[in-house]
C-alpha cells in the first residue's frame, strides 16, 4: 500500500511542480533582443487619450462594458517628425493636428479638467527679437511688457540635447506660460506651453525633457 500510495501521489505533484517552474521562466526580468527600427507609420507608441465610451455612445443591451479598464492611461512616449525636426512626446500629451503655423501641437491634460496648450512654430529669419516676442506673449497673459534688464534676469540660457535655447517662464493669477526659443539655420523655433497655472507648472519637467528630445535635421524647404 505504501509504495502504491507513494507513486500515485508523487507523479502528479511532480508534474504540477514542473508547471510552476515553467511559469517562473516566462516573466524574465532582463531581456535583450533586436527589433527593426520604427518608422513614423508604425503604430503609435502612445496610448491615445480616449473619452470613456459612455461619453461617446451608448452600448447595446447585454454588451460587456468597454471601460477604461481596457484603456488605462498611458505614460508612454511617441517619436514624431515634422520637416526639419523630430521629437519625442512625453506621456499624456495629446497630439493635435498641426495648423498652418504649427508643425507640432499638443494638449496637456491637468487635474480637474484643466489643461495647457503646447505649440511648436518655426519662423524664417530672426522673427523679432527675443524681448519683442516675450513681451508679445506677456501681453497674451495680460502682463505688462518687461524691460531688457529684467528680461535678462528672468530668462535662462539652456542647452537641452545640445541645442542652445532661451527659456522664459511667467504667469498671471490663473495662467502660466513656459517658452523656449531656439535660433538656428536662419530660422527661429518657438516652443510654447500656455494654459492653467498648475498644469503648466506640473508639466515643466516633461517640457524640458521634450526640449532635450528635440533633434534638428535638414532644414525644411
Amino acid at each position: 500500500m505504501g509504495f502504491y500510495y507513494n507513486q500515485r501521489v508523487q507523479r502528479p505533484l511532480f508534474i504540477l511542480c514542473l508547471f510552476l517552474l515553467a511559469s517562473c521562466k516566462r516573466d524574465s526580468a532582463v531581456q535583450s533582443y533586436r527589433v527593426a527600427k520604427e518608422s513614423p507609420s508604425d503604430a503609435s507608441m502612445s496610448m491615445p487619450l480616449l473619452a470613456p465610451v459612455s461619453e461617446q455612445t451608448e452600448l447595446p443591451p447585454g454588451h460587456p462594458p468597454i471601460d477604461s479598464m481596457t484603456m488605462p492611461p498611458s505614460p508612454a512616449s511617441n517619436t514624431l517628425r515634422a520637416p526639419g525636426i523630430h521629437w519625442t512626446v512625453p506621456a499624456g500629451w495629446k497630439q493635435q493636428p498641426p495648423s498652418s503655423m504649427r508643425v507640432g501641437s499638443f494638449l496637456i491634460p491637468g487635474k480637474n479638467g484643466k489643461q495647457a496648450d503646447m505649440s511648436i512654430i518655426p519662423l524664417a529669419g530672426e522673427a523679432g527679437s527675443d524681448l519683442e516676442n516675450v513681451n508679445r506673449w506677456r501681453g497674451q497673459l495680460g502682463l505688462e511688457p518687461t524691460s531688457p534688464a529684467v528680461f535678462a534676469q528672468q530668462s535662462e540660457s539652456i542647452k537641452p540635447g545640445g541645442n542652445s535655447m532661451l527659456l522664459v517662464e511667467f504667469a498671471n493669477q490663473n495662467k502660466r506660460m513656459l517658452a523656449a526659443i531656439c535660433r538656428r539655420d536662419q530660422r527661429a523655433w518657438f516652443f510654447k506651453m500656455m494654459g492653467d497655472d498648475a498644469t503648466v507648472a506640473a508639466a515643466k519637467p516633461a517640457f524640458l525633457n521634450f526640449l532635450s528630445s528635440v533633434r534638428f535635421t535638414a532644414s525644411p524647404s
Binding site: 505504501g2 500510495y5 507513494n6 501521489v9 502528479p12 505533484l13 504540477l16 508547471f19 510552476l20 511559469s23 516566462r26 516573466d27 524574465s28 526580468a29 532582463v30 531581456q31 535583450s32 533582443y33 533586436r34 527589433v35 527593426a36 527600427k37 507609420s41 508604425d42 503604430a43 503609435s44 507608441m45 496610448m47 480616449l50 473619452a51 461617446q56 455612445t57 451608448e58 452600448l59 447595446p60 454588451h63 468597454i66 479598464m69 481596457t70 484603456m71 488605462p72 492611461p73 498611458s74 505614460p75 508612454a76 512616449s77 519625442t88 512626446v89 512625453p90 506621456a91 537641452p160 506640473a202 515643466k204 519637467p205 516633461a206 524640458l208 525633457n209 521634450f210 532635450s212 528630445s213
Partner: protein
C-alpha cells in the same frame, strides 16, 4: 512514506477541507468584488485574486489577514488531487465521478496557470497604421536602446519588478551594469529646489526632484514609475540618471563610444507578424446612438510564413493567431482609432476541456444510475 504522512494526506483529502476552501473562495469573491468600488477592477483583482495573501496596513506594517486567490486555489487544487488519488478507484461504478473530478481538477489547474502565465496587452492602431507589438500599460520596463545600427535597434529591457528589487543588474551583452539606487512605484516630479529627492548627476535628472507618491489604484489613473539608476563600467561610475515613465522622452548615455537611449515605457511584446488597420467600422442602429457593431478590418502579414491576408475583428469574433487572441476592445478619435486587446493565455483551452469532462462524467454517472434503476424495476 511514513505512516504519519500518509494519515496526514488522507486527512487533507477530506471533503471537509473542500468545503472550507469553497467557503473561503466565496468569502474572497464577495470581499474582492465589493473592494472594486474603492480600488477599481484591476487593483482589486491584483490584491484579492492574483495574490497569495490579502494584506492590510496596520500602522507601518502590512499584515496578511486572509488567504489570497492563489493560496485558496492551490490548496483546493491539492485537496482535489490528493482525494482523487487516495479515494477514487478506477472502477466502472465510479467512472462518472472519476471523470467529473478530473474535469474539476483541470478547471482549477487551468485557472491557476492562467493567473500565473496569461498576459494581456493592447495594440492601438489608427487607420493605416501597422503594429508589430502590443503594450501592457500596467507594467513598465526600463529600456536601453543601442541605435547605432541603421536598420535595427538592440534593446535591453529590465522589468519594473526587477527594478523594484534594487541592487546591481548586469544586462546580458552590455559592457556595463546598472545599479538601482531608488525605485518609486509612483512619484511626482517637480523642478529642483522644491524639496524631494535629487541624486541624479546626468541627463535631465539634476534639474528635477522626485517625491514618492502612493501608487494610484483607480482604473483611470496610471503610476509614474520612477527610478534613479547608476551606470557602472566595472568599478567606474558613469553617473546617475533619473528615469521615469512621466518623462517620456529618452535620455542618452554614452559608454565605450556607443550611445544608448534610456527610458521607461510600458512593457512591450513584439511579434514576428504585423497588423495593419485598413478600416474601422462603427455601426449604429438606425435613428439611435446605440452601437450595433464595432469592427476592425486588419491586414495580417507574416513574412516568415509567407502569409498575407485580411481579416475582420469584431465583437465576439476575435482574431486567433500564433497563440494570441486579438479582441476588439475600444475605439476613439472619431472612429479613426481602434484598440485591440491582445490576450496570450497558454491555458486558454483548459476551461473548455474541463467543462466537457465534467459534463461527460455527470452524464455517465446519471446513465449508470438510470440503467441500475431500470434494471432493478424490471
Amino acid at each position: 512514506m511514513t505512516l504519519n504522512l500518509k494519515r496526514l494526506l488522507y486527512r487533507f483529502a477530506s471533503v471537509k477541507y473542500t468545503l472550507v476552501f469553497m467557503a473561503l473562495a466565496m468569502i474572497l469573491v464577495l470581499i474582492g468584488t465589493l473592494a472594486q468600488v474603492q480600488l477599481g477592477t484591476y487593483e482589486a483583482q491584483k490584491k484579492y485574486f492574483d495574490s497569495w495573501w490579502v494584506f492590510t496596513g496596520v500602522g507601518q506594517w502590512d499584515i496578511p489577514v486572509f488567504p489570497g486567490g492563489l493560496t485558496i486555489g492551490l490548496a483546493w487544487l491539492l485537496n482535489l488531487i490528493v482525494s482523487f488519488i487516495t479515494r477514487f478507484r478506477p472502477v466502472r461504478k465510479d467512472m462518472g465521478i472519476f471523470i467529473s473530478h478530473a474535469g474539476l481538477i483541470l478547471l482549477l489547474l487551468g485557472q491557476f496557470l492562467t493567473q500565473l502565465l496569461a498576459k494581456e496587452s493592447q495594440m492601438p492602431l489608427r487607420v493605416g497604421e501597422t503594429g508589430h507589438y502590443s503594450q501592457d500599460f500596467r507594467s513598465m520596463e526600463l529600456v536601453l536602446v543601442d541605435t547605432s545600427d541603421p536598420k535595427q535597434d538592440q534593446i535591453t529591457s529590465v522589468s519594473d519588478k526587477r527594478l523594484m528589487r534594487g541592487g546591481e543588474i548586469q544586462p546580458p551583452g552590455l559592457p556595463f551594469s546598472i545599479v538601482v539606487h531608488r525605485f518609486y512605484r509612483n512619484a511626482e516630479l517637480s523642478m529642483k529646489g522644491e524639496g524631494g529627492e535629487r541624486i541624479a548627476t546626468q541627463g535631465i535628472g539634476p534639474n528635477i526632484s522626485v517625491q514618492a507618491r502612493l501608487p494610484v489604484s483607480t482604473d483611470e489613473e496610471s503610476n509614474n514609475v520612477t527610478a534613479f539608476i547608476e551606470i557602472k563600467e566595472g568599478s567606474k561610475s558613469r553617473g546617475i540618471w533619473l528615469v521615469a515613465a512621466g518623462l517620456g522622452a529618452p535620455q542618452s548615455a554614452t559608454v565605450n563610444g556607443v550611445t544608448y537611449e534610456l527610458y521607461i515605457r510600458p512593457q512591450r511584446y513584439y511579434y514576428p507578424f504585423t497588423l495593419t488597420l485598413r478600416k474601422f467600422t462603427h455601426e449604429l442602429y438606425p435613428g439611435t446612438n446605440i452601437p450595433k457593431n464595432f469592427a476592425s478590418l486588419v491586414h495580417l502579414s507574416h513574412p516568415a510564413k509567407n502569409e498575407s491576408r485580411e481579416t475582420l475583428i469584431y465583437m465576439n469574433n476575435p482574431l486567433r493567431y500564433e497563440g494570441k487572441t486579438f479582441y476588439q476592445a475600444s475605439f476613439g478619435e472619431n472612429d479613426t482609432l481602434s484598440v485591440l486587446q491582445v490576450v496570450d493565455n497558454p491555458a486558454a483551452i483548459t476551461p473548455y476541456l474541463s467543462v466537457i469532462l465534467v459534463s461527460l462524467g455527470l452524464l455517465i454517472q446519471f446513465l449508470f444510475h438510470l440503467m441500475a434503476f431500470v434494471r432493478k424495476s424490471a
